[in-house]
């Protein structure tokens, strides 16, 4: 009798850890982060940000920064109001969505702590950071809106006064039948849950380099972004650079946690400044900026009572389609199935195969289900049956 070996055991695909292919390069430092990229004549941006959640900007004076060593330019939000243009909303969630203007940098009013108000361009990163100290801003504080529940109150201060409301949109999420479920529930729990503010804080902060136009008027933007394709469309709209003349490259990206799924004003401003100054322009977010400026996580629903906790029957229907482009990397010519909605279809097919072979004694077939493996499984099962 021989001891069972690892290869004797069935090796189900689900629950098996996969060998990571990317680690060796990452842990030995052979990576290209945006901040590692440098270019001849590179200029560095440092951004001054609002220290307060809501205030009117009475005065910004960048002239003292221009006196500092190494400084090439210093611009306010007003200087940048027309070029680049305002940042559009890429997802109009409902038809009644209220969309306020969203300039790349604040112009007259700051509406969140960390909103950019001015930029200093210098020959070195340190020179830019030092000169930022010299920019003078006078603010008149305005009452802030603190929290999701405070925003729709009748007497709440308006974040965008011109819009007359703090309500952005109403989006009913209609899954399951709450009233019916509650009526036949044995236990109804009412609890108030508080979700803290969530700062994405990726290991690599946001970073961007924009190149000046080539002789044929083409631009390249390197950005630590999760959405280079969306960025190209949006930045083209914002800057007026035709899409076919704008190349967006996302080099290695060191995490995002959703904070790099947006196209940001800093990217648009870097591009506009590279065009205006005729030199490549780089901005790398500091860790302090990263905890204030990027999109953050907040629970958007004020109450959980509006929603049932989703259960398996609440999953929406989904349609499984197939691709006609055979992959060359595996025996079946199939590609990985990446979307959560269809991930169940692969095991479902394999389960059907196993179910069909069950009368023959087959209990498991390793994936992918090649004809060879099915034949082997049947042969093994018959041999086992013959022994007993």
């Amino acid at each position: 009798m021989t001891a069972p070996t690892a290869t004797d055991a069935p090796r189900p695909e689900v629950g098996r850890s996969r060998a990571r292919k990317e680690d060796a390069r990452l842990v030995t430092g052979r990576t290209t982060w945006t901040d590692n990229i440098t270019m001849p004549g590179l200029l560095h941006l440092a951004i001054l940000r609002s220290p307060t959640a809501h205030a009117r900007i009475d005065r910004i004076d960048v002239a003292p920064a221009l006196e500092r060593p190494g400084v090439i330019a210093a611009l306010t939000g007003r200087d940048l109001a027309d070029e680049p243009g305002p940042m559009p909303c890429v997802w109009p969630v409902t038809e009644d969505i209220v969309m306020p203007d969203h300039p790349a940098f604040a112009v007259d009013e700051v509406r969140y702590a960390g909103e950019p108000v001015a930029v200093v361009v210098a020959r070195g990163r340190y020179a830019a950071a030092d000169a930022l100290e010299a920019v003078e801003v006078d603010y008149t504080p305005l009452p802030p809106v603190l929290g999701l529940e405070a925003a729709p109150a009748d007497d709440a201060p308006l974040v965008h006064a011109g819009k007359g409301t703090n309500r952005c949109y109403t989006w009913p999420l209609d899954t399951g039948n709450y009233a019916a479920q509650k009526a036949r529930a044995d236990v109804v729990l009412r609890r108030r849950y508080t979700q803290q503010r969530l700062i994405p804080n990726a290991v690599e902060p946001r970073a961007v380099i924009a190149t000046p136009p080539t002789a044929s008027n083409e631009y390249t933007l390197y950005s630590a972004t999760q959405v280079p394709h969306v960025a190209r469309v949006i930045l083209s709209v914002v800057t007026g650079i035709p899409e076919q003349r704008l190349r967006v490259i996302a080099p290695d990206v060191g995490g995002g946690f959703g904070s790099k799924l947006q196209v940001y004003g800093e990217e648009a401003v870097a591009l506009a400044l590279a065009r205006k100054l005729g030199r490549p322009a780089k901005w790398t977010e500091s860790r302090s900026e990263g905890s204030r400026a990027p999109t953050e996580g907040n629970l958007v629903s004020g109450t959980m009572a509006d929603h049932l906790v989703p259960a398996a029957p609440d999953l929406p229907d989904f349609v499984t389609d197939r691709t006609e482009t055979p992959a060359t990397s595996d025996a079946l010519g199939v590609k990985g199935v990446g979307e959560a909605g269809t991930i169940a279809s692969t095991p479902a097919v394999v389960n059907a195969v196993v179910d069909a072979l069950r009368p023959l004694g087959v209990r498991d077939v390793a994936m992918p289900c090649t004809p060879q493996r099915i034949w082997q499984a049947v042969t093994d099962a018959r041999a086992k049956e013959a022994k007993t």
Binding site: R125, D130, S288
Partner: protein, 287 residues
């Protein structure tokens, strides 16, 4: 996250350091382990024009015994790591070793120094309250020579000590606490976080009673404090839970804890009572 420009001096002797500080005036700062100063510079909360790095002055490191007084003498630039593992500290000032073990994380403890922590005088720092409980003394060197400041007079206000701008904290003198039981309690939100409240307790017992107790409080005011009312109530008290609990109820008396993101003054007062109630029996060995 980039500090403003500053000049940097790294003297090899204490005299040179004092001289550099004196020349630099109020715009000069001492750099010890840098675990508080460097983040402050990076956040541009301070703009010193000169940093005087004490890292290359050998006489400021290490622990020895003063044969004249029997006290421990700890060089101001001794790292937290070295304090924790020093046999003299462990034998004669176990409270200091125990509290130092809770300072931040290993990386910080290998760079941060006892003298730096005391000179920074952050109200949430663990060690100022320990020195207060140990009745330690600070020895400062300046252009006018050396002077000794008792711990009780050393911590003046929030981030302020009795040190003049041109004085360097040279050594910390700690009387041997042989025969005293000790215990340090620290309450923080995460393991490496600042103390929301800390309690450093030393207890000496005699004839089944608490002969004397010394209790240092962290984060209960702009400076470290002693829980004087509790100490008075414990003197001569029976080492039994009821007596300790009743004395601990006075732990927050005379304190002025701050409000911050972590806690209200009321909550800090509550913590001071609870932690004292835990620390004193542990120090007295009556748990």
């Amino acid at each position: 996250m980039i500090p403003a420009a500053f000049d940097y001096a790294r003297p090899d002797t204490l005299d040179e350091a004092v001289h550099a500080l004196h020349e630099g005036g109020e715009d000069a700062k001492v750099l010890a382990g840098g675990q508080s100063l460097i983040p402050i510079l990076r956040l541009r909360l301070a703009f010193p024009e000169l940093l005087v790095d004490l890292g290359r002055i050998p006489e400021l490191r290490g622990v020895r015994e003063d044969p004249a007084t029997g006290s421990l003498v700890i060089g101001a630039m001794t790292t937290h790591h070295d304090v924790i593992h020093d046999p003299l500290v462990r034998r004669h000032a176990g409270l200091l070793a125990a509290a130092t073990e809770t300072v931040a994380d290993p990386a910080v403890r290998h760079r941060g120094t006892l003298g730096g922590s005391l000179s920074h005088a952050g109200p949430a720092g663990d060690l100022p309250a320990v020195l207060l409980a140990l009745d330690g003394e600070m020895v400062a060197a300046g252009p006018r020579g050396r002077r000794t400041v008792p711990a009780r007079e050393f911590f003046v206000d929030y981030l302020r000590t009795a040190l003049a701008d041109d004085e360097v904290l040279v050594e910390i003198r700690v009387p041997k606490a042989d025969g005293w039981g000790f215990h340090h309690e620290k309450f923080s939100r995460v393991a490496q976080g600042w103390a929301i409240v800390g309690v450093a307790a030393l207890v000496r017992r005699a004839d089944g009673r608490i002969a004397e107790a010394r209790i240092g409080l962290t984060s209960m005011g702009s400076t470290p404090l002693r829980a004087s009312a509790t100490e008075a109530a414990l003197a001569g008290a029976e080492a039994v839970p009821a007596a300790v609990a009743s004395a601990a109820d006075a732990a927050a008396e005379g304190t002025r804890p701050a409000t911050d993101l972590s806690a209200t003054p009321e909550y800090r007062a509550h913590l001071a009572r609870v932690l004292t109630r835990r620390a004193v029996p542990a120090a007295a060995g009556t748990e």
